[in-house]
Symmetry: C2
Subunit: 737 residues, 2 copies
C-alpha cells in the first residue's frame, strides 16, 4: 500500500509513467494510421518462445501467422502460440519488387510458370523477374513471357552456364544438381545496383500477395542480410538415422526455398569469400552437400548468426514427407507460400495434402491469359508490342460482321515451346522434321504418328492450361510417346472462338531444327518408309547398300544445293476406322484399286490434289515436276526457311492453299516424289467446317480474307500475282483447305 | 509554467493521466492481441468526411479501403482520403457464416454458382447458404450442391413461390422482376433463430474472404440493423434527366447488392410493417419501383436513418455504365466484392472493365472440383455421403493395375442439370425424349440432331468449367440451337482419366421428363420421321389422317399399358463425311444396296446388332420380336423408369451391352420397329478406344469389371443369370460397346 500525501501523489505519477511507458513500448510509440504489433516481444510466452527468434517483426497484418518453434527439443504440442504472431508493415504500394529464380530444363520451366501464375494472381505490385537459366529454360521462358504480355512484369535472363564454374567444385548429392547451388552466387551474378531480391525455388506456390513478403525487409536490423524460414523437418538435428551427419546448422536450420536477400549488405560483408571459406572447411570432413545451397547457407549462418532474419513460417510451408509444417499452419489458415520440397512433389504423404494439392492445381490449370489484367493502380510501361496491339484492337469495328475474324487474327497467343523434355536431333545435313498442329481431340493420333515417322517432329498443340496438364499425363501414360525424345511439343494457349490454324503451323515450323521440314496435318499417317526415303540414315555397323537403293532422297534431288523446291508427298485417304496400312507403293496401289483407299478428297474436292497427277504417279520411277493450279494444296517437304503460313486465315478455309500460292509465287519448283505417300484417316468434321457450312457470314468473311490476301500478294509480287486472281474468286473448297 | 512543489507533482500526475487516457482512447483500452483503429473517429479529416457516415468502424485490417463520399455534391477529386480507411476486427475464426441469396431460373442459377465459387475460393469459415429459389433454380442448385460435396457448406432452400404474395402487390419495373423484391421479406422467411445474415445479389463476385465482411457486423451500434454500401451512381440524386423522379433516398442512397442484415433487430423493430407502410405511401405518388427492393430499402432508410450502418465501398464496387466506382478503388487495389449491376453485365463500358472481366472469368472458368478442399482449421460435419466415399477411396489399393478404373467408378461428378434455359415439354401420354451424352469434340453434332429430332432431348455433356462456357457461347451463336427450348443440357463436370459414359447416360436419363425415352448415342442421326413415328402429334388444325397411317406408335404397340418392352431402332452407318440422309425406308434400302450405307459395325463387329435381323427388317411391315444374344447392343425406346446403366463401366467397352443384358434379365421384350432407323456418322476413334486397343491392362481391367458385373447379376437374378455367362467370357468388341 502506498503512503499518503505527497509521496502518494508521486507514487501515482510514477505508476502512471510506468503504465504510459509500457503502453508506449507495447504500441511502438506510433500514434499514426500505421499499427504496430502489441504482442511483439521476443520470447513473450505464447507468442514467440525459443532462443532462436533473434528479432520479432514489430508490426503488421499477418495476424495469425505462427513461427515454428526454434527449440530443437520442442514437441508438437505448442500450437496455440500463434494467435498473436508477427505482423508486417503495409505492403509497399507500386514499389517494383525483384524476384530471382534459378531454372534449368523443361520440367523446371513448367514449374516456374505455375509459380509465376500464383504470384501474378495475388500481386498488386510491378515485378522484375531475374531468371538464371540454362539454354533450354531460356528459350522456353523468353518465348513465354514475350507472348504472354503481362503488364508490369519485366524479365531479365542470366546465363547459368557462365555461373557454373563458380559452384562446380562443390560435390553435391541433391536432386537439383549443380543448379541447386547457384543461389549462392546471386549477389555477384545480379546487377550491382540491385540491393534487395526475393529468391525462390521453382517448387513453391504463392497463396498471398508477394508484397507482404517484400515488406518483411523492413524488419531487418542494420546487419541482417538474409531472411529465412526455419526448416520444418528434423534433418539438421542429425538424429534421423544412425551416423546421420548433416551439415552444421542452428537448431533445425533454415530452408532456402524462400529467401529475402539484402544483396548490398552481402556484397559489403564479403559474402563470396564467406561462403566459400565455410564450404571448403566443411568439405574437409563432409563428402558433399546433401541439400545443395541450403547446407552451405546453414553452415555460414551457424558461424554468423547475426546475418539472418527469421521469417514467419507461413512464408515457406514445407511439404516434405515427415514435415513438421502442421505446427506452423494448424492454427493459421493464412498460408502464404507452399513449398513442395519433397522429391515426390504432389505425391507427398501429408495429412492435408488434398488441400495443398487442390491449391496447387488451381494455378497449374489457371488460364494464364486472365493474368494479363493490368495493375490499374500503378503506372507501368506496357510490355513490348502491347501498345500497338491495343491500338489495332481498338480500331476494330465491333459491328463489322467479320469482327471475330479480325480479332482472332490480332490475338497474340501465349506460347510454351518444348512443353515436355526434348532432345534436339543430332545435326544431319538432310534431316527432315515433320511439322503439324492439333488440339485435344486429335491426341489419339500421336502414337500412330510416332510409329510411322521415326524422325524428329515439331508439333503445335492448341490447348487450355488445364488441357496442357491432361496432355502431359497422356504422354506420360504412353510408353510409345514417353520413349520419344525427338518429338517437340509446343503448347499454344487457346484464346478466341476461331482455330488459329496457320499461327499454330508457324509456331511448329519456327521450332523445327533440321534443314528440311515435312509440312503435314495431324490426320495423316505417312508411309512407314517416308522418313528414311527423304533422309536416309546409314546404320552405323551395317553396309549401306539398302540406302543406295532408294531412288529419291533430298540429297539426290539436289535440294542440298539450296534449290527452291517443294517435294510433293501424294495424299490418299481411307474411310475405314481400321485398315491395314500399306507397306509399299505396290500395296497402296492394290488398296486403291480395291476401293479401300481413295486419292485424297476424291469424292468431295478432287481439285485440291488433282495437279499431283495420280495417274502419272502410279507409273513414276523418278520425281516429276508439276504445275501449280487453282486450289492446289499438296503436302510438301521444303527447306526450313520456306515462307511462313499466312496467319490471317483463321478457322476453316484457304489456310494451306494460300501457302502453296505463296510458294509458287516465290518460284518454288513442285516435284512429286514417286515412292512417297501419306494417308488421311477418317474423323468427324471440325467445328470450324460446320460453321463454314452453316453460316453465310463465315463464307463472306473468308472471301474478304482472300481478297485481302490477293492485295498483299500483288503488293509483293506485282503483275505476277495476277495469275492467282481467278483462283481467289472461285468458291471455297468444302473441306479444310 | 507549473507551480513548484506538491501542486507541481499533482500537475505532472494530471498530465500523465491525460496522456494515459488519450492513449487509452486511441488504442481502445485493449492491451491484448486485438487491435483497434487509431484513426477511428467519425469525420476525421482525410479519412471519413461526409455527414452520412453515421459511425466509423473502429478497427481492423482493411487498410486502404475508401468510403465513397456521401456528399451528393462531391466531385471526383477526393481520392486520397482513403489511405487510412476503416479496418474491421479480425475475421471470426471458424464461426458459421450465413448467406442468403434469391435465385430464380436457369441463368441466375449459373450466376449464383460463379458467385459461390468466388466465395469458396477465399473463404476460411464454414458457410450456411440460405437460397430462396423457384422450382427451376432449386432443382439445379440442389443437384449441384449434393454432387459438389464441398466440406463445411450447408445449404437450405426456401420456396420463392410461397413468398410471392408478400411482394406481388408492388408494381416493379426492374429487370429482376418479382424476385428482385424478395430480399424485403427475408426477416420473416428465414428461420426465426437466425439473427444475422449477409444478403447477396446473384451478380456479385468476391475478391476477398467473406468473413472480413461478416466481421463488420461488430461495428453496428445497438440500434443499427442494415449494413449497406452507398450507391456509386447519381440515380437517387434525381438529376439524370428532365422529370427523372427516383424514390426517396439519403443522398446517393444505398445499393442493396450486398447487405448485412441483423434479422433479430429488424424483427424486433417491426420491419414488415415498416417497409410496407413506406412502400404503400410512396406508391401513392410513384407508379412503381424502378430498382426493385433497393427503392424500398432506401425509402425506409431515409425515414429511419438510424437503422443503417454504412459499409466501406470496396464491399460493393458497382460496375454500371456511369459508375462512380473508380472513386472507391482508384486508391485501393484491395477490392473486396465486385457487383455487375448493369443489365449489360460483362459488356458494360468501364475504364477498367478488362481487369474486372478477367477477374470474373477466373471464377467462371475455375474448376469447381478444386473447391472441395477441406477447411482443415475448423471442425465440420462432412457433406452427406462424403465419409462413405472417403472410406471407399481409402480402401482402394494404389498398386492394383485397375486402380484408375476403381477410382473413376467411385468419383462423384458435380452435375449442373438444365445448364441452359429449358422449357419442359407439355405432358403427352406417349411422348419420347432422346437421351444421349457427349463431350466437347461432338458439339458439331447438335445442330444436325436438332434437325432430325423435333422432340424433347435430354443430353449430358462431360465438360470442364471452362468448356461449359465455350458450350454456352456455341449454343448462343447457333440459331438452330438457340431456338430450341425443349433440349435440356446437363453438364457433368470432368474429373479423372476415364470417360464415365454410363454415369453420363444415367444423368441424362434421370432428367428425361416424358413417359418414354429413346436411348441413343451422339454420333447417330435418327430418321427424320422417327419422333413422329414413335409419338405422333396431331396438328391442331389439320385432319389427323397422316398420323393414322403410321403403322407403329408407342400407343399402338401397347406400351401405354406398362408392358415391359424395348423398341429396337435398327442402326446403320455411313463412312462418308457428307451424304444425303435418306428420307424413307425405301431410300435407306437403296443406299444400303448401293454400298453407301452399311448396317452398323458391319465390318468390325457385326454381332453387336445381328439379332436385329436386318434381312427380316427389310421386308417387315409390323414390329417383330427378337431374342437377346451375346453382345447385342441395339438402340432402344423404353419407358423412362427402365433400369439405369451400370456405372462401373467407365471408359471404353461393355457399357451398353451390359444395359441390354439387364433389360433382358428383367424380361423386357425386344421389338424391332419396321419403319424406324438411325444412322451413325463417321468420326475418329475415341481416346478410350485407342487405349483399349493398345493396353493389355485396360482389357484385363474390363474383363474384371465384366466378372463383377456377372456376380451382381447372379445375386439379383439367380440361376437366370447363367444365360449370360458365356457372353461375358467372350472377347470384347473392338468398338465402343
Amino acid at each position: 500500500m502506498l503512503p499518503r500525501g505527497r509521496p502518494r501523489a508521486l507514487g501515482a505519477a510514477a505508476l502512471l509513467l510506468l503504465l504510459l511507458l509500457l503502453g508506449f513500448l507495447l504500441f511502438g510509440g506510433d500514434l499514426g494510421c500505421e499499427r504496430r504489433e502489441p504482442g511483439g516481444r521476443a520470447g513473450a510466452p505464447g507468442c514467440f518462445p525459443g532462443p532462436l527468434m533473434p528479432r520479432v517483426p514489430p508490426d503488421g497484418r499477418l495476424r495469425r501467422a505462427a513461427a515454428l518453434d526454434g527449440d530443437p527439443g520442442a514437441g508438437p504440442g505448442d500450437h496455440n502460440r500463434s494467435d498473436c504472431g508477427p505482423q508486417p508493415p503495409p505492403p509497399p504500394k507500386c514499389e517494383l519488387l525483384h524476384v530471382a529464380i534459378v531454372c534449368a530444363g523443361h520440367n523446371s520451366s513448367r514449374d516456374v510458370i505455375t509459380l509465376v501464375k500464383s504470384m501474378l494472381f495475388y500481386r498488386k505490385n510491378p515485378l522484375h523477374l531475374h531468371l538464371v537459366t540454362d539454354a533450354v529454360a531460356r528459350n522456353i521462358l523468353e518465348t513465354l513471357f514475350h507472348t504472354w504480355m503481362v503488364p508490369a512484369v519485366r524479365v531479365s535472363f542470366y546465363h547459368a552456364d557462365q555461373l557454373k564454374p563458380q559452384v562446380s567444385w562443390i560435390p553435391n548429392k541433391h536432386y537439383s544438381g549443380l543448379y541447386g547451388l547457384m543461389k549462392l552466387v546471386l549477389p555477384s551474378a545480379l546487377p550491382a545496383e540491385l540491393a534487395r531480391v526475393i529468391v525462390l525455388d521453382t517448387d513453391v506456390t504463392f497463396a498471398s500477395d508477394i508484397s507482404e513478403l517484400w515488406a518483411l525487409f523492413a524488419h531487418f536490423s542494420d546487419t541482417q542480410a538474409i531472411g529465412l524460414v526455419e526448416n520444418q523437418s528434423d534433418w539438421y538435428l542429425g538424429n534421423l538415422w544412425k551416423n546421420h551427419r548433416p551439415w552444421p546448422a542452428l537448431g533445425r536450420g533454415f530452408n532456402t526455398g524462400v529467401i529475402l536477400l539484402r544483396l548490398d549488405r552481402l556484397r559489403q560483408a564479403g559474402w563470396e569469400q564467406m561462403w566459400r571459406l565455410t564450404a571448403r572447411r566443411e568439405l574437409l570432413s563432409l563428402p558433399a552437400t546433401s541439400l545443395a545451397d541450403q547446407d552451405i547457407f546453414n553452415a555460414v549462418i551457424k558461424e554468423h548468426p547475426g546475418l539472418v532474419q527469421r521469417l514467419p513460417c507461413v512464408w515457406n510451408v514445407q511439404l516434405s514427407d515427415h514435415t513438421l509444417a502442421e505446427r506452423c499452419y494448424s492454427e493459421a489458415s493464412d498460408l502464404k507460400v507452399i513449398h513442395w520440397n519433397s522429391p515426390k512433389k504432389l505425391r507427398v504423404k501429408n495429412k492435408h495434402v488434398e488441400f495443398f494439392r487442390n491449391f496447387y492445381l488451381t494455378f497449374l490449370e489457371y488460364d494464364g491469359n486472365l493474368l494479363r489484367r493490368e495493375l490499374f493502380v500503378c503506372p507501368s510501361q506496357p510490355p513490348p508490342g502491347a501498345e500497338q496491339l491495343q491500338q489495332a484492337l481498338a480500331q476494330l469495328d465491333e459491328e463489322d460482321p467479320c469482327f471475330e475474324f479480325r480479332q482472332q487474327q490480332l490475338t497474340v497467343h501465349r506460347v510454351h515451346v518444348t512443353f515436355l523434355p526434348h532432345e534436339p536431333p543430332p545435326p544431319r545435313p538432310h534431316d527432315v522434321t515433320l511439322v503439324a498442329q492439333l488440339s485435344m481431340d486429335r491426341l489419339q493420333m500421336l502414337e500412330a504418328l510416332c510409329r510411322h515417322w521415326p524422325g524428329p517432329m515439331s508439333l503445335a498443340l492448341y490447348l487450355t492450361d488445364a488441357e496442357a496438364q491432361q496432355f502431359l499425363h497422356f504422354v506420360e501414360a504412353s510408353p510409345v510417346l514417353a520413349a520419344r525424345q525427338d518429338v517437340a511439343y509446343h503448347v499454344v494457349y487457346r484464346e478466341g472462338p476461331l482455330y488459329p490454324v496457320n499461327q499454330l503451323r508457324n509456331v511448329a515450323l519456327a521450332q523445327a531444327l533440321t534443314p528440311y521440314v515435312f509440312l503435314s496435318d495431324i490426320d495423316f499417317l505417312p508411309a512407314y518408309s517416308l522418313y528414311d526415303y527423304l533422309s536416309p540414315r546409314c546404320p552405323a555397323l551395317l553396309p549401306c547398300s539398302w540406302v543406295l537403293l532408294l531412288r529419291a532422297s533430298i540429297e539426290q534431288l539436289g535440294l542440298g544445293s539450296r534449290r527452291k523446291a517443294a517435294l510433293v508427298v501424294p495424299a490418299f485417304e481411307t474411310l475405314r476406322y481400321r485398315f491395314s496400312f500399306p507397306h509399299s507403293k505396290v500395296e497402296l496401289l492394290a488398296l486403291l484399286d480395291a476401293g479401300t483407299l481413295y486419292t485424297f478428297r476424291y469424292h468431295e474436292w478432287p481439285r485440291g490434289h488433282a495437279p499431283t497427277d495420280y495417274a502419272r504417279w502410279r507409273e513414276a520411277q523418278a520425281p516429276y515436276r508439276v504445275q501449280w493450279a487453282a486450289n492446289y494444296e499438296p503436302y510438301v517437304v521444303v527447306p526450313r526457311d520456306c515462307p511462313r503460313y499466312d496467319p490471317r486465315f483463321v478457322g476453316f478455309g484457304w489456310n494451306k492453299v494460300a501457302h502453296i500460292v505463296e510458294l509458287d509465287a516465290q518460284e518454288y519448283e513442285l516435284l512429286v516424289l514417286p515412292e512417297a505417300f501419306t494417308i488421311h484417316l477418317p474423323h468427324a468434321p471440325s467445328l470450324d467446317i460446320s460453321r463454314f457450312r452453316s453460316s453465310p457470314t463465315y463464307r463472306d468473311c473468308l472471301q474478304a480474307l482472300k481478297d485481302e490476301f490477293h492485295q498483299d500478294l500483288s503488293r509483293h509480287h506485282g503483275a505476277a500475282a495476277l495469275k492467282y486472281l481467278p483462283a481467289l474468286q472461285q468458291p471455297q473448297s468444302p473441306a479444310r483447305g
